[in-house]
Point group: C2
Chain length 136, copies 2
DNA sequence: CCACCTTCTTGACACATATCAAAGAGGTGG
DNA sequence: CCACCTCTTTGATATGTGTCAAGAAGGTGG
């Protein structure tokens, strides 16, 4: 995640006249939303997600998912971790295997955010649930 | 220019049923959806989009947008191009300046796709409207 | 404790992407 | 035609990302 993003201090519209009042998107909000979208923006992860959504409990273990996308298990594990740390999947051990399960509210939240154009963040506690960036 | 974007002729218009009808998401569909999500999944582009959405006609020119994100114009041009080739913005010359405008249907289409879980592609003509990859 | 299974982490590599400076391309107006 | 403005492309560079092989970590059952 690039750290070079802007502060919206001195915005002086030049050629197109005074632009509407600043319904600008706060940088932190933009980053948080981008993190979640980035988690979704990969063909492999979309395929994994589609498979999970089609399962009875919307869950499966890594060894089932690897063959679905024809990739090595470490690679699949990497993708699952990315989905999990973005709050799109949850992770649970059951004996030897690990079950990943879809969190539909997370996907709905992203969809709603895009649809309504209200791109600001959910409150902080929701944020902690949905987007545990840098944590595990 | 990276060649990794999907060719529209190859997109199979499979419209799977709601959430959980088909266990697998076709690779082409996954790629096409991922391309659009990737276009959104960047803080700079989200801020540009938020600014555009706040404008009267949901449009602005490059020279207005560059100060918004405090980046050089070539960089902003790069981001705008990415949004445009994903069908999220349209581009129009007006004299010396170029106006980029939001295509709300494109964003709604992505949101709906996520929300309903019907992740297969729209039909080809919609695809041609929304995702003019390789065309200008 | 040991063999074995599933999963994750590490290290390495290739490729994609964000960014800027410099130069080019398109358009306006003297 | 030429100076100037806006915008895009090109080239270069740094960072990010997807992938795998190899090995470590966590758990089961003899």
């Amino acid at each position: 995640m690039p750290k070079t993003l802007p502060l919206l201090d001195d915005v002086s519209p030049i050629c197109c006249g005074p632009l509407g009042n600043s319904a600008t998107l706060d940088l932190d909000d933009a980053i948080a939303l981008a993190v979640r979208l980035k988690a979704l923006a990969d063909p492999v992860r979309l395929q994994l997600l589609a498979y999970l959504l089609a399962q009875p409990n919307q869950e499966a273990c890594t060894c089932d998912l690897a063959p679905i996308v024809s990739l090595s298990e470490p690679t699949v594990s990497h993708h699952l971790k990315k989905l999990q740390t973005s709050g799109i999947l949850t992770k649970e051990r059951h004996g030897m295997s690990v079950h990943y399960r879809v969190v539909p509210e997370a996907i709905h939240a992203i969809a709603r955010t895009l649809d309504t154009g209200t791109w600001a963040q959910p409150t902080l506690d929701q944020e902690a649930r949905y987007c545990m960036v840098g944590a595990s």
